[in-house]
């Protein structure tokens, strides 16, 4: 778990990423860099609904996984990265360099995959 924690820490120390967390597909928090627990739980619950919606529809098209989903809202952006059994979520401000965020996210995802703690 410490690898996941430190990877998430590195991701959030990036200038572009405001906060992040990793959840199971059903919304349980695996690791969070959000201090307020209830805020993290709410975010995890709602993002897991989005992941469920994506996975249900993709499975009808014959696919099991997606790469990422980015929501742009009036206050910022939410990045969801599919890690197989889990999902990494990163919150950013509005005007960020998407390419740099993507690189940071892919690096974090690769680190977590390497740690072998995906099948939680």
């Amino acid at each position: 778990m410490s690898t996941i924690k430190s990877t998430l820490g590195i991701l959030c120390s990036n200038d572009f990423v405001r906060s992040g967390l990793i959840i199971t597909k059903d919304g349980m928090i695996i690791e969070s860099a959000i201090e307020n627990t209830s805020e993290a739980e709410t975010l995890g619950a709602f993002m897991s609904q989005i992941v469920l919606t994506i996975k249900n529809s993709l499975s009808e098209l014959g696919y099991n996984e997606f790469t990422r989903y980015v929501i742009q809202s009036s206050k910022g952006q939410v990045f969801l990265m599919d890690l197989g059994q889990s999902v990494m979520i990163a919150l950013t401000d509005l005007d960020v360099d998407i390419a740099k965020v993507n690189i940071a996210l892919f690096q974090a995802a690769t680190e977590i995959k390497k740690s072998g703690r995906l099948d939680i």
């Binding site: 529809s57 098209l61 989903y69 809202s73």
Partner: protein
């Protein structure tokens, strides 16, 4: 209806042509003709869930006119067929729930609504109907329970109470209905659930929601040609507020049953998600998946969806989207 071109090169009529004609006829109240058009559309496109849904809406309109419960039975059959091809269709599940509810088939309605609430837990229509069922079940339990006034029945977990403005099952005479229920007359019905269709005269099934914004959708649809030469473009879908496909330009023959539902459900979940976590209002969604990059854009009365190749230049796509939005907002 994956592709409008037959393998032998002959072009078939796309399902959306039939849809448009049938919708126009429905609007003009030419219901028999509208059903005929749907049937012809289904002959050519037998797997098109959108036509099945429209046909069921026309049959619901017929039921409203002639009160013949056979129309509701047929509507339900068509919705079941639509759900076979497109299990995630929101509008098909909502309409089927409403018909089950009207037929007092509460268990079937409940399971259909549970399916919607599983992926869209904040959905107001589904929540209000679920609350309605729970209320009816409580009334039924009270009516059939032995007279022990001290005992309070154990309450099931209740979804948020519906607001009067949002409730979709409109009870035209709530008080009279309650009195009827309390006498046990309405709820003690031993017939199989399917045979009760059309029994509850107080419930109105909403089958007209697609008509209001047709002109706006036409205007949005007219400008879609702006994306015609966009590099890497696989498909464009204009999906209305009910999750039904209004217009498509489907170059890659993508599934026109599943993708509009994916778009509608994802849009709805995203709108709710960002709102509930205090992240403002939803503006854009970009899903990168094996079928391509799916871009969801909020436009008036609809969701514009572009499916592009995963290697496409997103900057160029964004520029084109901004131009489109500039045009339609004029």
């Amino acid at each position: 209806m994956k592709n409008n071109t037959e393998p032998d090169g002959k072009s078939s009529e796309p399902g959306e042509d039939y849809l448009k004609t049938a919708k126009d006829l429905k609007k003009m109240n030419e219901l028999a003709l509208a059903i005929e058009v749907c049937d012809k559309g289904l002959e050519k496109n037998p797997n098109d869930s959108n036509i099945y849904i429209l046909k069921s809406q026309i049959q619901i309109d017929k039921f409203k006119k002639d009160k013949n419960p056979d129309n509701l039975k047929s509507a339900l059959l068509n919705l079941e067929k639509a759900l076979k091809f497109n299990p995630q269709s929101y509008i098909a599940r909502i309409l089927a729930s409403q018909i089950y509810l009207k037929g007092k088939a509460y268990n079937k309605a409940k399971s259909m609504l549970a399916g919607i609430l599983k992926s869209l837990p904040d959905d107001e229509k589904a929540s209000s109907m679920m609350a309605f069922i729970i209320k009816k079940e409580e009334e039924k339990a009270r009516a059939t329970a032995p007279p022990e006034p001290e005992k309070t029945p154990v309450k099931a977990a209740e979804p948020p109470a519906p607001s009067q403005d949002d409730i979709i099952i409109k009870n035209e005479d709530e008080t009279a209905g309650e009195n009827k229920e309390e006498s046990g007359e309405a709820m003690v019905d031993t017939r199989p659930e399917e045979n009760n269709l059309g029994d509850d005269d107080k419930l109105v099934i909403d089958s007209d929601s697609d008509n209001e914004n047709a002109a706006h959708l036409e205007a949005l649809s007219d400008k879609l040609t702006m994306f015609g030469r966009l590099e890497g473009l696989e498909a464009i879908f204009l999906v209305d507020n009910d999750g039904q496909l209004f217009k498509s330009i489907n170059k890659s023959g993508l599934d026109e049953n599943v993708i509009p539902s994916l778009v509608f459900n994802l849009h709805k979940a995203s709108v709710m998600g960002v709102r509930r976590v205090g992240y403002g209002s939803f503006q854009r969604g970009v899903l990168t998946a094996p079928i391509g990059t799916i871009i969801l854009v909020n436009v008036f009365y609809a969701i514009l969806t572009l499916v592009i190749d995963n290697d496409s230049d997103l900057g160029a796509v964004e520029t084109r989207i901004q131009r489109y939005l500039g045009e339609v907002m004029q």
